[in-house]
Symmetry: C2
């Protein structure tokens, strides 16, 4: 099969994937190999010694959450002592924003790609600020985590079981017509998620106060839908993975130290390079010197053709990630240069309903010298603090060059 | 006071108005003079013989709803026989979309302008299609009306009483950053409305099934928030009314036969001319020959500086009202020509967060020959059918010319 035909096939699979949210499961039950003593994390593989502050913070929090350690000090000791096995979310069909740390007792959304049958998972979103995924782990963080993964997960699970699976591609498509780009701006998507679930929650949750609290948490958190949307993007990207000869990127992910990509025609190999630090806007009291290098699996959104690639749909996002609405427009236009196709299901009204740029071709990235755009949150570089801003970043060119070389070698070129 | 100073004062009052939704009341209790035998309607004054089909249909439906007639034939007889007093919503501090027919037993939203203290009201939205406000009155329509004005109004009233009044200007401002223009596209606003109310509804409504049904109705109807937003616009526009010497338009309204405006410095007088028929997109099975002339008080949104005036914020609206996203952009840009100011609280991300054009100056309308843009629904010309499409319309120039002449006379010019 020619490269062009391989890429056309891969991108068609990415576009045709129809991810639907079918329910909530316990991570330890849903994700093979996520056993006691194992923690999943965002990005390519990494061990404790090379982990950045926010990832370490999230690991400490997860050990406390699971009861595998009683104090942060004990948690750090166990993690550093080699007692914990670390594995990327991506190796278990999952994705997690920022640190992405997922432990067996946590709840995960289950997303099924109706078209091709593959499945993907993501943990539940905790909101903004001082949260585990940004490396915070104090009592407030742990208490919220327990509520989210306990009572809230139960309510959401019952609500999802009470009706048809939620069509996440349709939801995302609507959200892109409502000023979202689906990665850093999920304001519309999150209340569309609420709109779908609210009647089911009212119907299935016997305790009115709990129902009210879940509805308030979902509705007030403008990132509620980010995690199911990330699992949807993972299901889309995975559908395009493994096409022999294809140079399309099927994963981009960061662990806070390395930025890694995977390529459709190059199996499960990661191509990595040091993760850059984002440029952006900082919350009051923080500045660029506090920022950790880029972190998280959420770049799966750009991989699947939205996020920064759909920024033209989300001019208001610049108040959060910096820049002007014209920059947002330019970001999308530039991404058409390095992608294989225009999405049929995700469109941008302001570009006369043009489809979003989808399917990053690493040949084009290297030839044109244009790396993909990424919108991202910014974590404090130290463990225990949390989110300090949001901004823009680009992957290092090296990962695309290395991947292209590997592709050439694999094809005897 | 000079005209310029009068207009500056009037528009400042319009911009500074902060309408908040405080609760739900029975129309007959809330609106002075709305007694047994009286019906309110949209637009300037009109009596039965000159009423168009959809307004007649809504009148028939309201008489059946109130039990003032037992059959459509009896209702028509009573209405034609002079037994019913008809009065504009606007004469009672209220506004209603399309036919706008409001009867004493209906529920109304109460909106208070926190800044200036004035109050405005609007009835509850019934959704799309075959509904009273488009002139339909069959059993399905009446049954829905009874549920909306009975159980649903009760649930909404209790939810509104259970917390702080809802800041509608803040809601609208958010919605304009989410692809709404606040008149024909209220998709984001309606789920923001749901987001605000859902936890309160879950908390205060003891019957889970009723709570679920109300949440589904609010969330599935992309016009849920139109009526409170119209009352908010009425509260804004009323705040600008009665400024001596001002040539700003403070009401535009249509009864299906006449298009009427009121002017800040010209008291309660209406300037009317025949209502034009909108251009637009039709639901399957209908065409322009079925369309009634323009109808409804919803032009209060354009009067207050949004709706068609904010179309640049809502490129996706063209799938509903016709045109292209570029036309939508052009519509807003044109409206800056005939308005007094740019809104400080309502902004358009795609125009680099420029404020919406607000405060129609009839001098500019007449001088430049540019009439205001209006987005609108389209009703079938016959009673009993309902909505057949949505589109664009402009008021007749004559109403602005007449008003300017009257202004000149009043000022001895």
């Amino acid at each position: 099969m020619s490269i062009d035909r391989a890429n056309a096939k891969a991108v068609e699979r990415m576009i045709d994937a129809r991810p639907r949210l079918t329910g909530i499961e316990r991570a330890g039950d849903a994700l093979p190999g996520l056993e006691e003593g194992t923690l999943l994390h965002a990005g390519p593989p990494i061990d404790w010694p090379r982990m950045s502050g926010p990832l370490r913070g999230a690991v400490i929090g997860a050990l406390l959450f699971e009861g595998w350690a009683a104090t942060p000090e004990e948690a750090e000791e166990r993690a550093a002592g080699g007692e914990i096995r670390f594995d990327p979310c991506h190796h278990h069909g999952a994705v997690g924003p920022m640190a992405g740390v997922t432990s067996p007792s946590m709840a995960v959304y289950r997303v099924e790609n109706e078209t091709h049958g593959n499945v993907a998972f993501s943990n539940l979103n905790e909101g903004y600020g001082k949260v585990l995924r940004y490396g915070a782990f104090d009592d407030e963080v742990l208490e919220r985590l327990r509520w989210i993964n306990g009572p809230m997960a139960e309510v959401l699970g019952a609500a999802l079981d009470a009706g048809e699976p939620l069509d996440l591609r349709a939801l995302l498509s609507e959200a892109l017509h409502m000023g979202d780009e689906g990665h850093n701006r999920n304001k519309a998507g999150s209340i569309l998620f609420l709109q779908r679930l609210a009647p089911r929650i009212a119907r299935t949750c016997a305790d009115r106060e709990t129902a009210a609290r879940v509805l308030a948490f979902l509705g007030d958190n403008a990132l509620s839908v980010l995690n199911p949307v990330m699992a949807a993007a993972k299901a889309m990207a995975d559908a395009a993975h493994g096409v022999d000869g294809s140079t399309l990127v099927t994963a981009m992910a960061r662990n806070g130290t390395d930025f890694g990509i995977r390529v459709s025609g190059l199996g499960d190999r990661w191509f990595t390079a040091p993760a850059p630090t984002p440029d952006g806007l900082y919350f009051s009291g923080f500045s660029a010197t506090d920022a950790n290098p880029d972190i998280g699996d959420s770049t799966i959104t750009e991989t699947a053709g939205f996020g920064a690639f759909a920024m033209a749909a989300a001019p208001a996002i610049v108040t959060f990630v910096s820049g002007t609405p014209k920059d947002a427009m330019a970001a999308t236009l530039e991404m058409y240069e390095i992608t294989e196709a225009e999405h049929r299901h995700l469109t941008i009204p302001a570009l006369e309903f043009r489809g979003t740029p989808v399917g990053i071709d690493l040949r084009k990235v290297v030839e044109l010298g244009i790396t993909p755009r990424v919108n991202t949150g910014i974590a404090h570089r130290e463990a225990g603090i949390g989110q300090i801003g949001a901004g823009l970043v680009r992957p290092p060119m090296a990962v695309f060059r290395d991947a292209l070389l590997a592709w050439a070698e694999a094809h005897d070129l």
